[in-house]
C-alpha cells in the first residue's frame, strides 16, 4: 500500500479552503500552514495561462528528511506516510533544509511539523480534511497501488507531473495538467 494524492490543476480555483480546513482539523497555529497554494502565470496578455495548485508534503518514497534526521523523529509509517514524532524531535531543522519542497516548518512549540496525510483520519477510514472540504473536488487521495482507488482513477487517462523530479525523491503528489 502506498498513499498518494492527485491534484487536478484544471479544477483548482486557488480558494485555499484546503489550507484553512487543514488548520482547523490539525490545530495548526495561526501564521503557519501544512498546505499552501501556488499560482503560476505564463504568457503575455492576452495569451496567458494560469496554473493553480494545492501543495503539501510529497511523502516521498526516497525521503531526504528521514535520512538526515539525527534522532529518528522523522520516519515512515504504513502506506509510506512520512511522520514526525514530536517528542523525539529536537527542532534542529536539518529536515527543513533537506526538503526540496519546503514542506516543513518549525512549530512554535519547538518541534518540526508538516502534513501527515491526516493519518488520524485515515486510521478511522475517513479521508483527509483537505480532500473532504475542497469545493471543486480537485483533490484525489488513496492507495496508488490499488487500481480502483480514487487517486488511481484520477490519474487514469490524464497527463500529470510531479514537482522537482530531478531531486530523485520519488514524490507522491501528482499534479494533473
Amino acid at each position: 500500500m502506498r498513499y498518494a494524492m492527485a491534484i487536478d490543476t484544471r479544477k483548482c480555483v486557488g480558494c485555499s479552503d484546503c489550507v484553512v480546513a487543514c488548520q482547523t482539523e490539525n490545530n495548526v497555529p495561526h501564521g503557519y500552514c501544512r498546505d499552501w497554494i501556488v499560482e503560476n502565470v505564463s504568457g503575455a496578455y492576452p495569451i496567458v495561462e494560469v496554473e493553480l495548485r494545492s501543495e503539501r508534503c510529497n511523502h516521498c518514497e526516497n525521503s531526504p528528511c528521514v535520512r538526515c534526521c539525527p534522532t529518528g523523529a522523522s520516519h515512515i509509517v504504513e502506506g509510506g506516510i512520512v511522520m514526525v514524532t514530536h517528542d523525539e524531535c529536537i527542532g534542529c531543522g536539518a529536515c527543513i533544509q533537506s526538503c526540496p519542497y519546503d514542506a516543513r516548518y518549525s512549530h512554535p512549540d519547538g518541534y518540526v511539523d508538516k502534513c501527515t496525510f491526516c493519518q488520524h483520519r485515515l486510521q478511522k477510514g475517513q479521508n483527509t480534511a483537505c480532500v473532504e472540504v475542497c469545493p471543486t473536488k480537485c483533490l484525489h487521495f488513496g492507495d496508488i497501488e490499488d487500481p480502483y482507488s480514487d487517486v488511481s482513477l484520477a490519474l487514469k487517462n490524464r497527463t500529470w507531473k510531479v514537482l522537482a523530479p530531478e531531486a530523485g525523491t520519488k514524490p507522491q503528489l501528482y499534479f494533473l495538467t
Binding site: 479544477k11 490545530n27 503539501r56 473536488k137
Partner: protein
C-alpha cells in the same frame, strides 16, 4: 513558498509577527467522536450553507464542516465557511454595549449595561416617533439579523429598510430578468450549471466569488469539458479555465451582447420553436439589432468578428442547455438593467429558461408565519420619496435613504435616525461624502454588529451581537431545485456580553410597548412552532440540520411544447418589454458609450477573493492567514511606464482627486488589460480596533466617487472611476 508562512501565490505576502505567544499544546487533532456537533447555516456570506459546528469538551469550537444533505454546499463549505470559526474566536469582537459620550470635548465610547443601552435606544425610538413619526426611523441591514429588526420596525411603524443587496449589487438583474421572463433570479441563482453544455460569464468571476454550490457545479463542468465562454478585461481564475476568454474593452459588454443577439437572429441560430411558442416582439427585436453586426461591435469591444460569430455558434449548438449567466454584483455603468435585459434576451433566443442545463424552476418551502398582531400602516415609505424616479425599484435604495437623511437635500419625507445591522456602510456605499453627511445629519444611530467595523464609529449606541455560531436565527428556506429548510442553533454560549439579534429586537419591542409582537420567551419556541407546522420539529432538526421537501410547483423544467404562462404583461417572454415601454424606457437595449480614462489614468475594476466576504472577514484570523491585504493588479506595460516594481507600495488617486488613505502593493501581472487596474474589494480598513486588518491594503470603495445611477431602479454604477499612481508618498501609514 512553502509550509509555515501561510501564503497564496497571488499575493506575495509575508506574515509579519507570527503568533509565537500562542502555546498550541493541544496540537493533537481531536477526533470527531470526542466532539459534539451542532447544526448551523453559515453567515459568512449570503449563500447560507448548512453545516455542523464541532465543539470539544472544553466548549471550544474546533471546526465547521458542511452538511452533506445541503444543496447549497453538498457537505463542503467554502474557505470562509470553514474559517468561520475565526468569527467566533476574534479577540477584537464587540464585547459589551457601548454608548457615545463627550468627555472634555472629546467623543468616546464607554461600556454600558444592556439595560442602559436598550433603554437608550428605545427612548430614542419613542422620541423620534413622537417628534417626526415612526417612519422616519430607518433600518440598514444585511443577512440574518435584518429579519429581526425588520419585524421590530414594522411593528413600530416604519417600512424604511434597505440593504446594499439591491442598489449596490444585484438589483439590475432582477429588473432585467423580470421584465423578460416575469421572474426574479433571486439567491441562490437557479442556473442549472450542473447539466449545462455551455456557460457564458459576463464579468462574473465564479471561483473568486465563492458562491459555493455554483462554484462546485462550475468545477464539475470543467471536469467534463463543457464549453465556458468568459468575457472579462481581466484573466479571472475562471477565464483561465475557459475554452474562450474574450478580453473585452471595459464598459462595452452591452455591444457584445447585442451583436450576439444579431448573430443568433441573422445567422438563423436561435431556437425557433421556443421563440415562436413562448416569446413576443421577435420582429421588433430583429429590426432593432439589424445593424449591430460583429464588425460594428469589433470597433467598440475589441473582440474580433470571427470570435464573436464562433462563440455565438457555440451557444446555439449547446442550446437549450446553455446559460448566459446574469452575474450577481452588476451595478457597473448605470445602464445595468438594460445590460441584464440583453442577457435575458439572449437566454430567451437560446431557449434556455426552464430547460435542463439552462435555468431551472426554483422552489422554496413556505415558513409558517408565527402569529402576531397586524403591523400598523406606516405614514410613508421610501417609495413615496422617489417622486416617480426609479420606478422599477422593488427594494429600497440605500443611497436614496441616505440622501433623505440629509435635510438640505430637500426630500419630502426625512429620515431622522437609523438602526444599522450587519452592514458596514462606510466600506459599502460609494461616494463616501453622501454617507458621511447623512450620518452627521441624523439625530441617532444604533449599530448592531459582531465586530468593530467602521460603521460602529458613527454610532451613538453599539449593540454587540453574538456570532451565528452562538445563536438561534430565522430558518433558512432559500429556493433551490428541491425545497428545503435549514436550522441554525447555538453551538456554544455567546462569548462576552454579546446577544442574539432576536433577543435585542425583542427587548427593544417590549420597551416600546410592542410586547404583543413578541409572544414567546425564546426564539427556539418560534422555531419549534414553525417546524412542527411543517411536519418536523426543533428536536428533529437539531439532529439533521436540513430537511428537504417534495416539490409542489411541478417539474424543474418545461416539457417540449408545454403551455406556460409567464408572469409578464403579455404572459409571454418579452423580447420587447412592454413594461419598460410603458415607463418610457427603451423597450429593447441600446448601447451607449461610457466615459474612458484620461491619459495616465486606469479604469478601477474590483472584485472578490475566494477567502473573503466584502469587508467583514478581513480581520478573521483564519482568513487573514490566507490573505491579509489586497494588491493593485497592473499590466507589465503599465508598470514599465510608471517604473513600478512587483510588491512596491503605491497610493492610488482617482479622477476626483481622492487619494487612498493607505498604500497598496503593486502586483505586476499579465492577467489584466493595460487600460485597467484591479483590486479585491473590502480592504483598507481605517478603524484601529480591527487590530489585524487596520491599514492593510486600500479600499476600492473610497476611490469610487463617480456614481452612474441606473434611472430604472436606482443602482449605483461604480465602474466609471479611474485611478492613477502616486509613488512618492511615503508608505508609512500601512505600518501604523
Amino acid at each position: 513558498m512553502g509550509a509555515g508562512a501561510t501564503a497564496i501565490g497571488l499575493s506575495t505576502l509575508n506574515i509579519a509577527g507570527l503568533n509565537l505567544a500562542k502555546a498550541a499544546s493541544s496540537d493533537i487533532p481531536v477526533s470527531d467522536e470526542e466532539m459534539t456537533s451542532f447544526p448551523t447555516y453559515c453567515e459568512v456570506c449570503f449563500w447560507k450553507c448548512a453545516g455542523w459546528a464541532y465543539v470539544d469538551k472544553n466548549k471550544n469550537i474546533r471546526k465547521i464542516i458542511g452538511n452533506t444533505e445541503d444543496p447549497h454546499c453538498n457537505g463542503r463549505l467554502c474557505p470562509r465557511g470553514t474559517g468561520g470559526v475565526g468569527m467566533y474566536t476574534d479577540e477584537d469582537r464587540l464585547k459589551t454595549p457601548l454608548i457615545r459620550e463627550t468627555v472634555n470635548g472629546e467623543q468616546v465610547f464607554r461600556k454600558a449595561s444592556w439595560e442602559e443601552a436598550l433603554d437608550l435606544v428605545a427612548s430614542k425610538m419613542k422620541d423620534v416617533a413622537y417628534k417626526y413619526g415612526p417612519a422616519s426611523f430607518a433600518l440598514f441591514n444585511h443577512g440574518a439579523p435584518g429579519s429581526h429588526f425588520k419585524h421590530l420596525l414594522h411593528a413600530y411603524g416604519s417600512e424604511n429598510e434597505g440593504e446594499p443587496a439591491w442598489a449596490q449589487c444585484r438589483g439590475p438583474r432582477e429588473v432585467g430578468f423580470s421584465a423578460t421572463f416575469g421572474s426574479w433570479i433571486g439567491s441562490p441563482e437557479p442556473t442549472d450549471i450542473r447539466d449545462t453544455n455551455c456557460l457564458v460569464l459576463i464579468g462574473s468571476h465564479i471561483g473568486e466569488n465563492m458562491h459555493n454550490g455554483q462554484v462546485q457545479e462550475v468545477a464539475d463542468i470543467i471536469g467534463r469539458n463543457a464549453t465556458i465562454i468568459t468575457v472579462d478585461p481581466r484573466l479571472s481564475t475562471v477565464a483561465a479555465k475557459s475554452k474562450y476568454w474574450l478580453p473585452i474593452k471595459p464598459a462595452t459588454d452591452l455591444a457584445l451582447l447585442l451583436t450576439w443577439i444579431h448573430v443568433l437572429i441573422y445567422d438563423n441560430l436561435y431556437n425557433k420553436d421556443y421563440v415562436e411558442q413562448y416569446t413576443m416582439g421577435f420582429d421588433l427585436l430583429k429590426e432593432h439589432v439589424k445593424d449591430m453586426t460583429p464588425e460594428w461591435a469589433y470597433g467598440i469591444t475589441t473582440i474580433d468578428p470571427a470570435t464573436i460569430r464562433k462563440t455565438a455558434r457555440e451557444m446555439a449548438n449547446a442550446a437549450p442547455s446553455v446559460i448566459v449567466h446574469p452575474g450577481r454584483h452588476v451595478v457597473w455603468y448605470g445602464d445595468d438593467s438594460q445590460r441584464e435585459r440583453a442577457i435575458a434576451i439572449l437566454n430567451a433566443l437560446l431557449g434556455s429558461w426552464g430547460k435542463r442545463g439552462g435555468f431551472y424552476f426554483k422552489e422554496s418551502v413556505a415558513i409558517p408565519k408565527y402569529p402576531h398582531p397586524a403591523y400598523p400602516h406606516p405614514e410613508w415609505s421610501w417609495k413615496d420619496n422617489l417622486d416617480g424616479k426609479y420606478p422599477l425599484s422593488s427594494m429600497a435604495i440605500t443611497t436614496e435613504m441616505l440622501a433623505a437623511s440629509i435635510p438640505e437635500m430637500g426630500y419630502k419625507h426625512q429620515i431622522k435616525a437609523w438602526i444599522v445591522a450587519g452592514t458596514n456602510l462606510p466600506l459599502t456605499i460609494p461616494n463616501k461624502d453622501l454617507f458621511k453627511n447623512a450620518a452627521e445629519a441624523v439625530e441617532f444611530i444604533a449599530v448592531v454588529d459582531t465586530m468593530p467595523m467602521e460603521i460602529t464609529g458613527y454610532a451613538d449606541v453599539v449593540l454587540p451581537e453574538c456570532t451565528y455560531l452562538e445563536r438561534y436565527d430565522t430558518l433558512r428556506a432559500a429556493p433551490h431545485r428541491e425545497p428545503n429548510v435549514a436550522l441554525r442553533m447555538p453551538a456554544v454560549e455567546p462569548k462576552y456580553e454579546t446577544k442574539p439579534s432576536w433577543w435585542i429586537a425583542k427587548q427593544l419591542g417590549e420597551r416600546l410597548g410592542l410586547a404583543d409582537y413578541y409572544n414567546y420567551d425564546d426564539y427556539a419556541d418560534v422555531l419549534d412552532w414553525q417546524l412542527k407546522k411543517m411536519g418536523t420539529s426543533l428536536e428533529e432538526m437539531r439532529r439533521i440540520g436540513i430537511k428537504k421537501f417534495d416539490r409542489q410547483s411541478g417539474p424543474l423544467y418545461l416539457a417540449d411544447g408545454e403551455e406556460y404562462h409567464f408572469n409578464t404583461n403579455s404572459g409571454k417572454i418579452e423580447l420587447y418589454s412592454t413594461e419598460f415601454a410603458d415607463l418610457g424606457f427603451d423597450p429593447m437595449p441600446v448601447f451607449t458609450k461610457h466615459p474612458e480614462p484620461e491619459d495616465g489614468f486606469y479604469r478601477l475594476i474590483y472584485g472578490r477573493a475566494p477567502m473573503h466576504t466584502f469587508s467583514r472577514t478581513s480581520n478573521n484570523h483564519n482568513l487573514f492567514d490566507l490573505m491579509n491585504e489586497n494588491a493593485v493588479w497592473v499590466n507589465p506595460k503599465v508598470a514599465e511606464l510608471w517604473d513600478l516594481k512587483n510588491g512596491q507600495m503605491v497610493h492610488l488617486k482617482n479622477q476626483d482627486g481622492i487619494t487612498s488613505t493607505f498604500p497598496v502593493k503593486v502586483r505586476v501581472t499579465e492577467r489584466i488589460r493595460w487600460d485597467s487596474v484591479y483590486m479585491v474589494h473590502g480592504f483598507g480598513h481605517d478603524n484601529k480596533k480591527l487590530t489585524r486588518s487596520f491599514g492593510r491594503g486600500a479600499s476600492d470603495t473610497q476611490l469610487i466617487t463617480n456614481v452612474m445611477v441606473d434611472p430604472m431602479m436606482g443602482g449605483t454604477g461604480m465602474r466609471g472611476n479611474f485611478v492613477t499612481f502616486i509613488t512618492d508618498k511615503p508608505g508609512k501609514e500601512a505600518e501604523a
